[in-house]
Each structure stands twice: as structure tokens, then as C-alpha cells.
């Protein structure tokens, strides 16, 4: 079976002559940058981190590196990899040929390592997770599946009232047709082409309970990456994000609502209706209200951690009429002449 050749030196950004120290340094630097927990770009971090790990796994081990160097000399990144003659001698060509019986079993997928790695080092590829000897003397491998994280964008109304939402995630999952072995009756599985994993868009129906707060985690137990061997699957963590609301600005648990009022309403006072996430409220504007003045509607904000809700602030914006009719203009002019206001134009 042909798999894509991986240039581990390029992945770590070191020359082929790099010392063990250089490799170690390069790995540390890249691993810190691309670790899914700290990476800035989370979308590809998981795959990139695995790649870096894999490169390090090979290059930091003198024995594996020697083997890799012997193999890798004639391949370029992106080219298909086929085993060289001396590997055929050692393990038998069947291992890579379609349809032939194999004596070199890739008995385990899901280490998080690439197929290329599995082909080269699959038999010796312990070193992550906890491996132990199985009863048959072969290496049984147990690894917990990693957690998967995704953002879940909800409207403020949904956060308050709760809802059921379809959440779609694309992920690589073990091929179900061949049970993640890549083979059916010693033939390459047509579903995953021997890749053992397939890209799959999974859609979950998730019930979002009422009162979720921003940043809250919804844990879907066992819906993360599949574990290997007897290892448990990871969990899927959905992190609540609030979608931008057309009427409000959200700041922490508080909401801000721009309340436009006419100049005379600000001067004389009035009662206005304010839309809430869950209904309406009447707000009394006192006479002589100032531009920018904030009116607090307690507990009408968004759900907050530890229960309860933040506040809603109506922020007064005095709107000057863009156009005035003749009569209206006359009234304003009269006002200007007669006003006792200390504000002078």
C-alpha cells in the first residue's frame, strides 16, 4: 500500500544533519506553539501537533532516525511512498501490496500517528500512551481518546430559554466498514482505501439547557476521539459563544441597548417600551434626561456563571430630527428665542 511520504525534517524545520539537541529544541518550540491547548489557530492545531510529535518520535530516537534516513533519502514530500528492496526482504512485499496475504500485520490503528509512520514503525511504535504486553505476547496498546473541543454559537435568546440545535463537526473517525483495520479479509478496505480512518461530518442534536453562560462547556461524554485498544473515548466539549445580537451589545453579563429619544422627550420626560430578550419593559425617562445617561434594568441581561442574570442598560441617545417642516421650524425658532436654557449655540 502506497502512503504519502512524510518529510520529518521539514516538519521540524531542521536540516538532515541536525544534532539531537537541534531536534529536541525544534520539537519543544513547535510543540509549544502548536499544542491544541495553546495554539492560536485551533483549527489545524490538532493535526499539526500530531505531525510534530510523530516527527520527533522518529528523529529523536537514533535507531528510528537511522531507519528513516535510510528509507527517506530517495523520497520527496508529497510523493507516494513504497518500501525499498531491503524492507521487502525483511518484512515481505505483501505488506504493501493490495490483495496479497500479509505476514506483516498492522494490527493497530488510532495511535494518532500517520499511516506512513505506522508502515515504518507500527510494530515498534509504542512510546505514547501506555502500552503493555498482551496475553499473546504481542504488543497491546491502550490509549485514551483525546478530547475534542468546538465552539457553539448561540443567540442570546437561546442562551436564556434553551434550545435544541444541530451541531456539525468534521472529523477523522475509524472506518466502520473494516473496523478501523484498513483491511477486510486481508484485502484493502474499499471504504477507507486502507487508511483506517475516514473523514466524516457528524451532526449532533444537542439540547442546550436554559441559562447557559458565555464560555460554559457542554460535555458530550464519549463523543471525542475514539480510544485505542481498551482505552476510553475522549469527550466532546462544546464551548458556548454568544452570537452578536442585532439589538444589544453584550459586555460580560450585561447588555447595552441604544435608546433613541426625541429632544422634547428628553426634556419633558416620557415612558418608552424597551425590548427585552424575553418580552418588553416599560422604562420611565425622567424629565431633563441627559444624552448618554444609562438606565439600569436589573436582571435583564444574559445568564451569568453561578446563576442569575446580568443587567440591561438602556443608553439614552437624543436624536435630532434630520428634517423639520415649516411649522415645526417655527416652533424651534420660538423655543430658541424664549428658552431660558443656559446652553448657548
Amino acid at each position: 500500500m502506497a502512503v504519502e511520504f512524510k518529510d520529518y525534517y521539514e516538519i521540524l524545520g531542521v536540516p538532515r544533519t541536525a544534532s539531537q539537541d537541534d531536534i529536541h529544541r525544534a520539537f519543544r518550540k513547535l510543540a509549544l506553539k502548536h499544542h491544541p491547548d495553546v495554539a492560536k489557530d485551533k483549527t489545524n492545531a490538532e493535526e499539526r501537533f500530531k505531525e510534530i510529535n510523530e516527527a520527533n518520535e522518529v528523529l529523536s530516537d537514533p535507531e528510528k532516525r537511522k531507519k528513516y534516513d535510510a528509507l527517506g533519502a530517495n523520497w520527496k514530500q508529497g510523493e507516494e511512498f513504497r518500501p525499498p528492496p531491503d524492507w521487502q526482504e525483511r518484512y515481505g512485499e505483501q505488506a504493501w501490496s493490495e490483495g496479497a496475504p500479509t505476514e506483516f500485520e498492522f494490527h493497530f490503528g488510532g495511535t494518532g500517528f500517520s499511516d506512513f509512520f505506522e508502515n515504518l514503525f507500527g510494530m515498534h511504535g509504542g512510546g505514547v500512551g501506555s502500552s503493555h504486553r498482551g496475553a499473546d505476547g504481542g504488543e497491546a496498546f491502550t490509549q485514551h481518546g483525546r478530547d475534542v473541543e468546538a465552539d457553539l454559537m448561540v443567540t442570546l435568546e437561546e442562551a436564556l430559554r434553551g434550545s435544541t440545535r444541530a451541531v456539525s463537526l468534521q472529523r477523522l473517525v475509524p472506518c466502520e466498514k473494516c473496523g478501523g483495520t484498513g483491511r477486510i479479509n486481508q484485502k484493502i478496505c474499499p471504504e477507507c482505501n486502507g487508511g483506517r480512518r475516514v473523514a466524516r461530518t457528524e451532526t449532533y442534536q444537542v439540547k442546550i439547557p436554559a441559562g447557559v453562560y458565555r464560555g460554559q462547556l457542554l460535555r458530550l461524554s464519549g463523543q471525542g476521539e475514539r480510544g485505542a485498544g481498551d482505552g476510553q473515548s475522549g469527550d466532546l466539549f462544546l464551548r458556548i459563544r454568544f452570537a452578536k445580537h442585532p439589538d444589544y451589545r453584550a459586555e460580560n453579563d450585561d447588555l447595552y441597548y441604544d435608546l433613541d429619544v426625541a429632544p422634547w422627550d428628553a426634556v419633558l420626560g416620557t415612558t418608552v417600551s424597551i425590548p427585552l430578550l424575553d418580552g418588553q419593559a416599560n422604562l420611565k425617562i425622567p424629565a431633563g434626561a441627559r444624552n448618554g445617561q444609562r438606565f439600569r434594568l436589573r436582571g435583564k441581561g444574559v445568564p451569568r456563571r453561578g446563576g442569575g442574570r446580568g443587567d440591561l442598560f438602556a443608553v439614552l441617545h437624543i436624536q435630532v430630527p434630520e428634517r423639520v417642516g415649516e411649522h415645526e421650524r417655527a416652533l424651534w425658532e420660538q423655543l430658541r428665542r424664549e428658552s431660558a436654557s443656559s446652553v448657548k449655540g
Binding site: 499544542h35 491544541p36 491547548d37 466524516r200 451532526t203 460535555r219 447595552y256 448618554g292 445617561q293 444609562r294
Partner: protein, 117 residues
């Protein structure tokens, strides 16, 4: 990765997942879910890496934790095992991640000065 595009499929799960983000766990349960020993969780709490949601400052028996504690615990374990960061280093990383999260929130929702009295 040689999973070809022809093997992409879409699975729609009709089963409705009902997470309970309000669920609280005691120390034993939390430790089991995180795959670590309860004593290690206690140690993290003493060092201030995680806090109980309920019962902070009281006895271990009264501590309660939620999924966000679990998430942090798993993250601590990943940082330690994947990157070989020691506990003090992990504490610093967690704090920096919190700060970055706050900064990113400010970038997306800048506080509007004109409304502040």
C-alpha cells in the same frame, strides 16, 4: 493522511444529546472522570491550578466540581504529558491562557467607553 475524499460520508445522528452543564461532581467522581488520582486533584487545588465550584475553603468532602473543572484537569494532564511542562509551568500556562482569552474577548467586543459614566 491518505483518507481519500471519496470516503467522506455524512452521518446524522438523530439521538439528542442532553448535556447537563450544571452537574456537580465530588472529588472521587471528578478524579475518575479525569483519569487521575484524587490525591493529585487535591494537590492541584492546593497549588491553585483548579478550584472547587462549591465548598472552597472547606473540607475535601464538601468540594464540588463541574465540567469546566474537568476540562481544566484534562488540559493540565495534556500539558504535562504532551509537552513535559512541570506543575509550576502548567500554572503559568493556564493563567496566560485565561489572559489571552480575556484579551480576545475584548478584541471582539471592545468596551464602549462612551457609555460608561
Amino acid at each position: 493522511m491518505n483518507g481519500s475524499s471519496s470516503s467522506r460520508l455524512t452521518i446524522v445522528r438523530l439521538h439528542i444529546h442532553s448535556p447537563s452543564p450544571g452537574a456537580l461532581y465530588d472529588l472521587e467522581t471528578l478524579a475518575r472522570l479525569a483519569g487521575v488520582h484524587p490525591a493529585l486533584v487535591s494537590k492541584y487545588i492546593r497549588l491553585g491550578l483548579v478550584d472547587p465550584v462549591v465548598g472552597e475553603g472547606r473540607g475535601e468532602q464538601e468540594w464540588r466540581f463541574d465540567d469546566s473543572t474537568l476540562h481544566t484537569l484534562r488540559r493540565i494532564q495534556r500539558l504535562r504529558s504532551d509537552l513535559g511542562i512541570n506543575i509550576n509551568g502548567v500554572a503559568a500556562v493556564l493563567e496566560l491562557l485565561r489572559q489571552i482569552d480575556g484579551l480576545q474577548r475584548e478584541l471582539t467586543h471592545p468596551p464602549d467607553g462612551r457609555n460608561v459614566e
